[in-house]
Amino acid sequence: MLTRDFLKLAGLSIAQRIIPPALLNLWAQAADAQAKGRKVILVTFGGGVRTEETFSPAGLRNIPRLAALRPEGYFYQNCVNEGVLSHFNSTGSIVTGNWQRVDDFGFEAPASATIFEQYRKARKAGPLDAWVIATNKSFAAMGASSQRGFGLPLGANVVLPKQLLLDAVNDIVRKPQASDVADRDAVHRRLETILQEGYEGVGWTIFKGGRQMDQHVRQTLTRALGSFINGPEAPTSGDELTFFITREVMREFSPSLLLVNFWDMDVAHWGSYSLYLQAVTRTDRLTGMLWDEVNENSKYKDNTTVLILPELGRDGDSNTANGFLNHRSGDPSCRNTWLLALGAGVTKGATETPIRHIDVAATAAAMLKFKPEGMVGVPVREILV
């Protein structure tokens, strides 16, 4: 038994003998209140990234923010994806705690309950307390499973910023005489119009809480669009918009459970190593900005754990069809990723002991103080304090 666990048990045992039961109840209530305030943010380097370009000695230059944050958190050097190496199934496994083997391109919901449904059911959490914000536009079904007893009514809100952006740009390109796609104002106007026309058209699921709440959601998302369009860089990236929407959702609704899926690095499929590296560095920057928001936002500061991991790796250079372009070989470069835990309850440290992608949801459930149903994954102990 770890010394810390022993002391905890010993302390509890002594307390029961010398402290009045009424006071113990008060403590228990306080602990419960604290647990209610606990928040978990899952951040995926979606699209897949190899350790070679991230936490290897040569890769650290591509992720300066995470490299600097690593000593502040707990680092798992071997977080293994033992499942199907497609995007939907990989992230599905992370959020359900069970290896998913459904349609690779998101045409089916995960087969077992997601952490969002489990959390909302167990903690009786409201519809605005769990969100999925995903650049991967095929993640529309990521918020809720097809498992009996769960499903859409208990699911997360799902926002697909890139689909919104694609629709806006597509509309403008189709009518080039009206305005040019390089005109930020034109894109902004079109984005707002699409939002006003309704979320469903871009594949989103937002649980509307009446007219007033719906208006609130729209205003929040519209503000995020403004930050994105008028940002300092030429907007080429779906991930930038994902970040701005995430930040606004955090500021307005402060959900307790949030999945942020960055995905630009899947540009690797184009076969451009430089664009892939740029996307990795952008994801690092955006993840760093998300961490900054956690620390600057009073609703998140000191009570939030952020779990950052790639949904999968990519094929190794030496033994596969075309190296970094793909992610289906099943070689170690593809399956062996990492996980960095930061924030509330996380001690500083690192381990080479393998954990699995399906352990992430179980760990998040333990942090949120509920017992999930039917998860194969188990909580990782090192970051459960």
Binding site: L166, V173, P176, D180, G271, L277
Partner: protein, 394 residues
């Protein structure tokens, strides 16, 4: 020519399915592939059942039945079956183990002749020779480049400042070693002038076909009719190139179609096409001589680049810009991948000379067996050309 017939009922169905599919499309295989599958078929007929025992034991546990795996069929359904099967990693391990036994036996029968791989980087990359080929281990040789850069490729490939097809390395090789034994694969159209008999592929030259494919893929993607690259490939199987040069050659027409619809950026990025087409040529046709000419990739445009199948010149008024630094980073990896791919095959190991050159640069990188002879000191491109001819004995 009809495919050969083999009896391998004793071989597990998940092993033979891919082989059977290859036999069905026999006339769309290169001579080197046909030779390989003939050797493989002959081997499998005599292979001891013990070799396949672990796989035969695994298949029922995977749920392989005559219904899920009809004998001789290998379609998208089977690919998906494998990908999603919980025992897929074990299946892959067993397949690799079987090939580890088979390959040495097949390799022993493969012919080993001298081969040449020429990899040409474009001018304008923003680095010197010290940073050009950092992923490769070879010899950097001083070169005397011509004063006029336009003479660089003709000198290298034909030995003259203006193309002299009578001395074209790819053409001489093609004449000596047969169809599809010499290839040129390039981003631009520079190599087209240096060869006529070789199998020639140019990304720029394929522009009308690429645009047609992009439009079709864009339409299909917009309608949401397909789930992924494999399904897309199936749907577009009939969309062959119309170019007169390829229309008469079903084998090359299918090669080009498959290369452009591989599910990666071959349709979108010039250098990805060049790399993947070269890798496929090496893997399938095993050319004795291949000249690979890369180019400069364009920069990604704001907003419109999100519409990946749209014509970027029409989608936005922003002018197209070349990405020199990005191209350099991309190509460093691709040099390695091409060299590595060739080294996987017995046909190339120990008897292949690799020349990595950059147009206008005063050095080249040589990766070659010790008996590839080059004169000492800064060498001319004519001398390199003659060394290559001597090496190939053409």
């Amino acid at each position: 020519m009809p495919p050969p017939r083999f009896d391998f009922d004793h071989v597990p169905v998940t092993f033979t399915a891919y082989f059977a599919e290859q036999l069905r499309t026999w006339n769309l295989l290169f001579p080197a592939e046909q030779s390989y599958f003939e050797r493989l078929g002959a081997y499998l007929e005599k292979a001891p059942p013990a070799l396949f025992a672990p796989l035969a034991e695994l298949e029922p546990r995977m749920g392989v039945t005559p219904r899920s795996w009809p004998p001789g069929r290998f379609s998208l359904e089977q690919v998906d079956f494998l990908n999603r099967n919980p025992l897929y990693p074990e299946w892959r391990r067993l397949i690799s183990a079987i090939f580890n036994v088979i390959n040495p036996a097949l390799d022993a029968a493969a012919k080993g002749r001298t081969r040449l791989v020429l990899v040409i980087a474009p001018a304008d990359l923003p680095v010197g020779p010290d940073r050009m080929w950092t992923r490769l281990s070879g010899r950097r040789l001083a070169l005397k480049p011509p004063e006029d850069q336009a003479h660089y490729l003709p000198l290298l490939l034909t030995g003259r400042p203006t193309p002299n097809l009578a001395d074209s390395l790819p053409d001489l090789c093609s004449a000596a070693r047969g169809p599809h034994s010499a290839w040129t694969v390039e981003a631009t159209e520079s190599l087209l002038a240096c060869s006529r008999q070789a199998t020639r592929l140019s990304y720029d030259h394929l522009l009308p076909y690429r645009q047609r494919l992009m439009a079709e893929v864009g339409k299909i993607a917009e309608k949401g009719e397909v789930r992924g690259p494999r399904q897309l490939g199936e749907k577009l199987k009939t969309l062959q190139p119309r170019d007169a040069e390829y229309a008469a050659d079903p084998l090359m027409a299918e090669f080009i179609r498959a290369t452009l619809l591989a599910g990666n950026g071959t349709l979108l990025v010039n250098n990805t096409f060049v790399e993947w087409a070269s890798v496929q040529a090496i893997r399938r046709a095993k050319p004795s001589c291949i000249a690979v000419g890369f180019g400069i990739r364009n920069k990604v445009k704001p907003f419109s680049s999100l519409l990946i199948f749209a014509d970027q010149d029409k989608a936005t008024a922003i002018p197209t810009q070349a990405d020199m630094l990005g191209s350099y980073v991309d190509l460093e990896v691709f040099y390695q991948y091409i060299w590595q791919e060739a080294n996987k095959y017995v046909e190339y190991r120990s008897n292949t000379t690799y020349l990595f050159v950059a147009e206008g640069m005063d050095e080249l990188m040589l990766v070659a067996p010790p008996d590839f002879a080059v004169p000492p000191g800064p060498i001319t491109l004519e001398a390199v050309h003659h060394a290559c001819r001597d090496w190939l004995a053409v």
